[in-house]
Amino acid sequence: MSEKIVISPTSRQEGHAELVMEVDDEGIVTKGRYLSITPVRGLEKMVTGKAAETAPVLCQRICGVCPVPHTLASVEALDDSLNIEIPEAAKLLRELTLCASNVNSHAIHHFLIATDFVPENLFAAAVDSVSEIRKVSQYVVDMVAGEGIHPSDVRVGGMASNISELARKKLYARLKALVPKVNAHVDLMEGLILDKDLPKGLGAIDQPVFASDKIYGNRDFFDFDRFTEVMPESWYGDEEIGKKACSTIPLYDGINVEAGPRARAAKFGGFTGKGVVAQHLTRAQEMKTYLSRAIEILDELNTSAPTLADYDLRGTSKLGVGAIEAPRGLDIHLAQVGNDGKTEFYSALVPTTWNIPTMGPATEGFHHEFGPHVIRAYDPCLSCATHVMVVDDEDKSVVKNEMVRL
């Protein structure tokens, strides 16, 4: 006899989602479905028809958790559409911004999973080290990108300005001093995650990994022809869930994929582990990778070099791709700028959207009590992942699905 366990909303994640698990007599999940119930943002429609520079300013407001990756993906897409080659120093400053932002985001995730792994006697220490790491990494974003939350200085064509030599030295010193703290924090979290004794193989799946780069992101990776999108009604195989789900299902080569730290580690670091523990460990390790890359950038940055390219805002309707490795996976923005300098088409294919169809099935084969563990290992963030709008409130159907058609 199968029973249905519904967790709604799933907790300690960003945004609202629902986990529906069909379980057998032993409580083992036989079918897992994970769906977004976060209302639509509609930013892609909002930026269409407006001046191209508007897109990064609006799109960064898609969410307060990942404003930096969204801004970067947006300007990268516009740079690509307008055929802009940005100055070398701007590339470094953009990557530095992302590294710092991703350290911050991973630290926040450790706060979210603290009650799963951290015993009471270490709780204060773990939370304190999360706070300290966040403070320093956000300070970097503040200085390099103008604002920690909605960065003002990441621009089409590069960065608004370089940082001063004083700022470079200061950031270098602060990040150097942060190294032992991050190392200790990562050791602590890794130890606690391994000590937890989660069932072997929990959350392991065989889906292809979806990652473009070890750190920053690479637009050449994304092949538009290999991408398809299906409506939730046809994906979930459950009419009620299909209607309730707020996100479309993106597929690459016709199948669902896994994005995020483990995907990056598997593709670029030869990492072979799978499942919940592997995801947590690779996420923790990435904090070290980002930090050392940030220090390297600060070491080589020329603070008197130009950071903004001259460019013509009149486009040629080229489909520009911006690909940024956000904390939770590959964030792709697509943009087309017309010859009047206005955005003709815009689409955001965001990290958690890629993971949504994969997360549900990843709960299968284990007791439903572990379901939330599996979900949290993906660090889902639903805010930007919603692209479907219910037009007919009576029957909750997605009547107007051209909203999501490319």
């Binding site: 503040d142 200085m143 103008g146 200085d153 300005s161 001063s164 004083l166 700022a167």
Partner: protein, 281 residues
């Protein structure tokens, strides 16, 4: 209180001849900011630096004494220093910022410290504000207009501007020109007419020529920060002082002018309110 809250009023000037040469009066702003920088009380200062056009200042994030000295001298048109404070703490990476501000700018800065909307992690990094006495400020086009049409000169010919003894005075290479101050009325920024602050009451330490003899400035120390910086600078020999009681025209004139700014602003405020116009106070 007509001069706002202050601890001590004193007549002073910078001892450094290099500062005296370029300063408007006693060189107090330049001396205090340079001293604060040298003593690491601040890491840099936002000042009204030289711009592309004559007498049109541009905010400058100064990281050295030389840069601070390059900004010496009064400019009678606006330098949007408040705007550059964010640059100073972001791209420049300053965590202890000093700045020089006229009363209206001070009101803005102090407001950001009470309500830091859009000034996140900025307000707490402003460590020193040197205020300057200000009766009114002219838009750049106003200066151009009355210097050209009333004084029959031009900004390019002008080497120094001053206001004193009821006159607006410009010095050219070989001449000193002046018009009565009342001839400039109507050319000031409209907001100046409802501003009730003459002596930069919200600053840490404020200064201006009125009350002291030529080449000297009147200084009002207001906060602990301002008072301790000033007394350290005096102790270090950067600044020399005279008691206000010993100088002419003395504090009385400062009080008189401050009173007159407040009462004429009150009149204008009443007038605007009666007309149904919004006033910020």
């Amino acid at each position: 209180m007509v001069l706002g809250t202050y601890k001590e009023a004193i007549s002073a000037r910078a001892t450094d001849k290099a500062i005296q040469k370029v300063s408007q009066d006693g060189g107090i702003v330049t001396a205090l900011l340079s001293y604060a920088l040298d003593e690491k009380i601040i890491e840099g200062a936002v000042v009204a630096g030289p711009g592309d056009k004559a007498f049109k200042p541009e905010p400058l994030v100064a990281l050295t004494s030389d840069e601070i000295i390059s900004a010496a001298g009064t400019k009678y048109t606006f330098s949007p220093n408040v705007w550059a404070l964010k640059n100073a703490v972001r791209q420049y990476g300053l965590e202890k910022v000093g700045t020089v501000a006229i009363p209206c700018q001070l009101q803005g800065i102090r407001k950001t410290q009470s309500y830091p909307f859009a000034t996140r992690f900025l307000a707490d990094k402003i460590s020193l504000i040197v205020g300057i006495f200000c009766m009114e400020n002219f838009p750049y086009a106003s200066l151009e207009t009355f210097i050209s049409e009333k004084m029959k000169s031009s900004l390019d010919l002008t080497e120094k501007m001053d206001i004193g003894m009821g006159k607006f005075i410009t010095t050219t290479q070989d001449d000193e020109l002046s018009i009565p101050l009342k001839e400039t009325h109507g050319y000031e920024q409209a907001g100046c007419n409802i501003c009730k602050d003459y002596t930069a009451e919200l600053s840490d330490v404020s200064t201006g020529s009125v009350g002291s003899p030529n080449g000297w400035s009147t200084v009002l120390t207001r906060t602990d920060t301002g008072a301790s910086l000033f007394s350290q600078a005096v102790e270090a020999g950067i600044i020399e002082t005279k008691s206000m009681d010993d100088v002419k025209p003395g504090l009385g004139l400062l009080e008189k002018l401050s009173n007159s700014k407040k009462s004429s602003a009150d009149k204008e405020i009443t007038k605007r309110v009666d007309m149904g116009l919004p006033v910020p106070f």
